[in-house]
Amino acid sequence: MPARESIDHSLEILEPLLITHSRPGRNKHILPDPFKPCVPDELLPFMNPEEVRLPDVAEVETVRHFTRLARMNFGVDQGMYPLGSCTMKYNPKICENIAERIRNIHSSDKHPMHMVLRALAALQRYLEEICGMDACCLWPAAGAHGELTGMLVVKKAFQTRGEDRSVVLIPDTAHGTNPASCAIAGFTTRNIPSGPRGFLEAATVKAHLDKDVAALMITNPNTLGIFEQEIHEIAELLHANGSYLYMDGANLNAILGISRPGDMGVDCLHVNLHKTFGTPHGGGGPGGGPVLVQSELERFLPIPRIVHVPRELFTLSYSFPDSIGMVQSTLGNVSVLLKAIVYIIRLGPKGLLEASRTAVLNANYLKARLKDHFDLPYATPTLHEFVLTDKRQKEQGISTMDMAKALMDFGFHPPTVYFPLVVSGAMMIEPTETEPLSELDRFADAMLTIAEEAAQYPQALHDKPELTPVTRVDEVYAARSLCLTWDMLESKDDGAVSK
């Protein structure tokens, strides 16, 4: 009889690592075995003589492990998720349903692929119409991938023209991916300030224009939720200078059926299917970042392109000599693309319009309920999201981080925090159109309660959250005592955390 192990109550581990459940022989999963399992002799020198290092766990334990983990995670189906510029709207179940259909299709299986390509060609058309653009490439796997693709297209256009332009202008409200994508595409970036009213002024752009400027990358509405009112003049200035206007479509959810990037003078943009078009974000992907361009840039789009032989089938063509080349190994995140099509046709033109109008209504309602209790850095009217700061609460020593963490105890995911960088202590709130009035009110009430607590008992807010699976997580410790795998944990003798 083994001695009874003493239980250490000093450290509570909510869910032990899977490897700690591992015992030799526990996993009894039965596998398909159509073949006699023998490995030819000539392969023996290539084989790993040791056992594969994976946990050996019974099915029920594995299921419970991940079920318990899931229960420690917050999703949109559970409550409001007002992450600014991330558009965490409800993900319709019918989309998941239809996407399941392509599960077993191999991309080399020509006949069913014709049907898939037909659907993808339709998605291209819908996105072109929604954005007012001439052509579309669906393959980029995420927003940043779309940005990179778009900027490679711009680079190629200049190379073809025999011009070597190296600078991209980026407003200070931009997402971090914008400059990072430009850098990979071989550009240098020049940061330009947005105006005092929270949008980029044409005069600022004009002052920065020279023959080295390839493009301006703009997000519209921008990350303050403000419509770029001078975008059309800016586009004209850029075009007169031989430069392009690139638009980051992260915030497209504000303007579906209301205003189109193409009509604003945009030459190239990407959209985020996992934001605007209701596909789930999967805890960080897979997403979808289709790129749209005006006809002048079409020939530079990535290969393959979907081509339609009249009265025949949809097929893929690689014969586009001016293309920037391939950006993904196949056709992007196909099942995500399919979900986006279902989303679009499920809503139709009226539904998309209603979605954007309501997203803007919801954001403005929340702003109206909160603006007297928090600092609102810009008075300019906003669309689908708005930014508050912690300026007032800072006087009591309460930061945006404290308030974000406190919101969790009310059952909400916090807003995007400390972004955009132009606003100190920013809280960027985007409720989306799918939140009911009761949930918006509950959120506003929670924020007001937090503001009150900040004024009266600020100390308590530093200890939030208290009702979440774990309390405030030490991110500094994570970076300092780096532990990224089971093996690193094993080799570490650390009293703070143990298996």
Partner: protein
């Protein structure tokens, strides 16, 4: 028709709170000339049944297609858990207190990938194998200021295509190392003359033709180059073959779709990157680390963010933000469900099946194009008409590769996995 829950009274109440009469006023900042005056020309709204009636293609049940995307058994558990809303409807886990599920699952993914590849660390995923290779090349440029990237020509041609796109504006030259037409392995002569002091070298193993490369020999020459990486395009091979990390590369990158992710008409896929301690801080993408909460309990969070775009902007190690989180969680679920014997058994089935089927194919008079040792794919020649006829009958005999390798006339890459039943291979043999 949309998923908006409000009724008219709700809207009215909201307008009053905002202090406006008409919703139109909310859009006053959009200049008139930029307003769309007509309705979008797209179909819908459609009800769910009408959406379900849209025709769909039937997939071919007899399928020997691989070439970077593989059909494998996926335990039912994987779908049951991955389809939980907590996983699939959540965002990137920026707020760790309410994201422990995704964070710990990704930590376990990282742990298992590092263990399987034999590397120090793994990131939280990249888009696919092709962009993983491209990111590895960019990492090599940051690490060693190389002038050239060398890649074996028997590396997945789609991966090489994407690599080329990414390298186009870096000033770094891309060169290919030929393969030997007899063995299908890398050409020794070219390998011996590498002289890669100013270069990063990438080798796929098993290569695109399914052939096992002479890794010991390659490693000897690769060590003389500034940086070298091994590309894995069939992750199941990690269940049986020597761990790529044991050859001492700077990184192991590739495609792990085979771990619990269905072919899905081409995607989503699952790019991964594993690397050494030396390169850890140059690695692109998200990484989850173990830490503690304010009460000293085990907890997880995203870490090493100072490499990333939201902090470093144009100086970031990569522009990647959204990755393939749910696919990585599926991979973690798959590996947990398979366990050590399961993954090895699947890899063994693949190898055994491919060799047994090739033997039968040889008996009907078709020879493989390459003589080198292989994993679960091999190349034969089959003329296009014959192939198309098979495809019309719902039999996918493999992936045609002549487009990528014109020197292999009518080349057909045949992949065998544990999903190919006895009926499948009888069907293939009878129709060849």
């Amino acid at each position: 028709m949309s998923f908006v829950p409000h009724d008219q009274a709700d809207r009215q109440h909201m307008l009053e709170t905002i202090g406006i009469q008409d919703e139109e006023e909310l859009f006053a900042t959009i200049p008139q000339n930029l307003r769309l005056t007509q309705r979008l020309k797209i179909p819908g709204p459609l009800d769910e049944e009408n959406i379900r009636r849209i025709p769909q293609g039937q997939f071919s049940h007899v399928c020997f297609a691989g070439g970077g995307i593989y059909r494998h058994h996926i335990p039912a558990m994987v779908d049951a858990l991955a389809n939980r809303q907590e996983f699939y409807t959540s965002y990137t886990p920026y707020q760790p207190e309410i994201s422990q599920g995704v964070l710990q699952s990704i930590f376990e993914f990282q742990s298992m990938m590092a263990a399987l590849t034999g590397m120090y660390v793994s990131n939280a995923s990249l888009y696919d194998g092709a962009t993983a290779l491209a990111e590895a090349a960019l990492m090599a440029i940051r690490a060693k200021q190389i002038k050239r990237v060398l890649v074996t020509r028997a590396t997945n041609p789609r991966f090489r295509s994407v690599l080329k796109t990414y390298l186009d504006n870096t000033g770094v030259k891309l060169q290919e190392i030929p393969f030997d037409m007899a063995s299908g392995q890398v050409e020794r002569f070219s390998l011996e003359r590498l002289n890669g002091e100013d270069a990063a070298l990438f080798v796929q193993n098993p290569n695109f033709f399914g052939i096992l490369e002479p890794m010991d020999c390659i490693a000897k020459f690769a060590r003389q180059s500034a940086f070298w990486g091994i590309v894995v395009s069939e992750a199941v091979s990690l269940g049986l073959l020597k761990r790529p990390g044991d050859y001492g590369p700077d990184c192991v990158v590739g495609e792990a779709q085979s771990f619990g992710n269905p072919p899905n008409a081409g995607g989503p896929l699952l790019g991964f990157m594993c690397t050494t301690k030396e390169h850890l801080r140059r690695m692109p993408g998200r990484v989850v680390g173990l830490t503690k909460d304010s009460r000293g309990r085990q907890a997880f969070c995203l870490t090493l963010a100072t490499r990333e775009q939201h902090i470093r902007r144009e100086k970031a190690t990569s522009n990647i933000c959204t990755n393939e989180g749910l696919c990585a969680i599926r991979a973690a679920l798959y590996l947990a469900a398979m366990g050590p014997r399961g993954l090895r058994a699947v890899a063994t089935q693949c190898v055994a099946g491919a060799h047994q089927i090739l033997q039968l194919i040889q008996q009907v008079g078709r020879q493989p194009v390459f003589k080198g040792p292989f994993f679960h794919e091999f190349v034969v020649q089959l003329d296009a008409d014959k192939r198309k006829a098979l495809e019309d009958d719902g039999i996918i005999p493999g992936v045609p590769i002549e487009y990528y390798y014109p020197e292999i006339k009518n080349g057909l890459l045949v992949a065998v996995t544990e999903m190919n039943t006895r009926e499948d291979w009888k069907c293939l043999l009878e129709n060849l």
